[in-house]
């Protein structure tokens, strides 16, 4: 988008939308949408409260443990699947099922098995994130250019050297891509888990605000969540471009 010959930054229209939000709020068209500025004021107050910090740290904890587990389990599993046909044939159908399955349906089971707490939320998060990480790591290993591997072998690289000098780097763009999508899914997973468990983290906060009709508080939390989620997604794709700059030119 150009205005008077200047290129507007890609996300600048969000300012326009924030202004629209402000206008709707100021006109008091609906009780459910307080003005943007009110929400921001509430937000500033809110982040200083203990309740909010507790919710945030609980969420961050469940999120990072869930993601950590999916990365630690997912990447090696994917690499092994890419290297071993037997393992691939055993696991691939299941990975494909779980990647498209509505995992929300499993949360009640997790609640029964693991209780109404952080453990359930961690597992939900991991379940949302892990499959795409596995699948991408697998795809990354499988697409490695044969001549690249042959080149390494012809220059006398042993299997171990070949692995960390060639395989790892050649599959890295896909692996990172998988982790990025996995993280985005995990953000959704952690919130869905908290909503269904509803006594932990932001889930509890939402219950509290919606039952007391604290609209500004509600929107403030939404704003924090959406901004964080978006920032994480953007940061990861920035990282991906930095580390895997060669991804598109292979």
């Amino acid at each position: 988008m150009f205005i008077l010959g200047y290129k507007l930054p890609a996300m600048s229209s969000l300012i326009l939308w924030a202004l629209l939000w402000e206008a709707i709020g100021r006109l008091e068209l609906t009780f459910f949408v307080p003005a943007f500025s009110t929400v921001i004021m509430t937000l500033i107050e809110l982040v200083q409260t203990k309740v909010f910090q507790k919710a945030l740290s609980e969420t961050a904890y469940a999120f990072s443990v869930g993601i950590g587990a999916s990365v630690l389990i997912g990447i090696p599993t994917g690499i092994l699947m890419g290297k071993s046909r037997l393992l691939d044939e055993m696991l691939l159908p299941w990975v494909n099922i779980f990647i498209s399955a509505p995992l929300t349906a499993l949360v009640p089971v997790l609640m029964v098995l693991f209780g109404f707490g952080t453990k359930t939320i961690i597992i939900t998060t991991a379940l949302f994130a892990i499959w795409i990480i596995i699948l991408n790591a697998r795809a990354g290993v499988m697409q490695i250019n044969r001549s690249l591997v042959e080149m390494a072998r012809s220059f006398g690289a042993g299997p171990f050297t070949a692995f960390y000098k060639i395989y790892f780097w050649a599959a890295l763009p896909e692996i990172l891509g998988g982790v990025r999508i996995g993280v985005i899914r995990a953000v959704k997973g952690v919130i869905i888990g908290q909503l269904l468990v509803s006594i932990v983290g932001f889930g509890a906060l939402f219950e509290l605000y919606s039952s007391n009709f604290l609209m500004a508080h509600f929107w403030a939390v939404l704003l924090v969540l959406f901004t964080l989620a978006f920032a994480i997604a953007e940061f990861l794709s920035f990282l991906e471009r930095k580390v895997a700059f060669y991804a598109t030119k292979r």
Partner: protein, 243 residues
């Protein structure tokens, strides 16, 4: 093959038992047979599919429409794309309590949940497919005297349709998540009701059976869509390669 191993593992784990609330595979299948035979599962699915189908239909039409628009016009891309990009990354499930406050606990809220889950991926896929129509195809059409209307109908839309379709498939997948989430979170109806109710009376085999069936249904349906997609657009992605 691997299904046998996994289901036997489930069976064994159920018999050990890991937890008294973890039924064996056979118990769950028996429960599935029971709810299938007494017909309650069909009633439940009719209820579950209502918001799902409505929501998917709305987000399909609206999503492809907005996507085409965003993909064709730089102005609309600037204006609307950021919203959908944020929506794509954001945990939209957090909007559910708000939707319940505004629209109550009825069908409307559930349709909304399905829509907000399904729409972003449909819009973004459509827009990027439209924007990435091979330039040479558009030039080809123009050099053979196509007007804008014909370029859109005969070149851009057919060229974009595989990606639009896979966007719809991903939308359906997200819609399933939304539909079940709304049944578990907003009010227990349909399959969500079976899950919630059987959990409350500790009838775990039935609960597992219901979950098993909804996952099976979703996976089968999505696979069917993928098959259809491969069948419909067989050559589409290979046609440009000059070898």
């Amino acid at each position: 093959m691997s299904a046998v191993i996994v289901f036997s593992a489930w069976e064994i784990a159920g018999r050990v038992p890991i937890s008294y609330s973890f039924p064996t595979f056979l118990e769950s299948m028996a429960a599935l047979a029971v709810i299938t035979l007494d017909g309650s599962i069909f009633v439940a699915y009719a209820e579950t599919l209502k918001p799902l189908v409505t929501g998917i239909a709305i987000s399909g039409v609206l999503g492809v429409g907005i996507g085409l628009w965003v993909g064709l016009s730089e102005k609309f891309e600037w204006l609307f794309a950021p919203i959908f990009i944020v929506m794509q990354a954001a945990p939209l499930a957090a909007l559910i309590p708000l939707l319940v406050m505004i629209y109550g606990i009825g069908l409307t809220s559930k349709v909304f949940v399905v829509c907000i889950m399904a729409m972003p991926v449909i819009v973004l896929n459509t827009a990027s497919a439209v924007r990435n129509t091979p330039v040479s195809l558009k030039e080809m059409a123009r050099s053979f005297l196509a007007n804008d209307h014909e370029v859109l109908l005969k070149v851009i839309i057919p060229a974009a349709s595989p990606i639009i379709f896979s966007g719809l498939r991903l939308g359906v997948s997200a819609g399933f998540i939304g539909a079940i989430l709304s049944e578990l979170k907003i009010t227990p109806t349909g399959v969500g009701d079976i899950i919630t109710f059987s959990r409350s009376i500790a009838d775990y085999p039935t609960m597992y059976a219901a979950i098993f069936s909804i996952i099976l249904l979703a996976v089968l349906f999505l696979n069917l869509l993928e098959k259809l997609e491969n069948y419909l657009f067989e050559g589409n992605n290979r046609g440009y390669i000059s070898d």
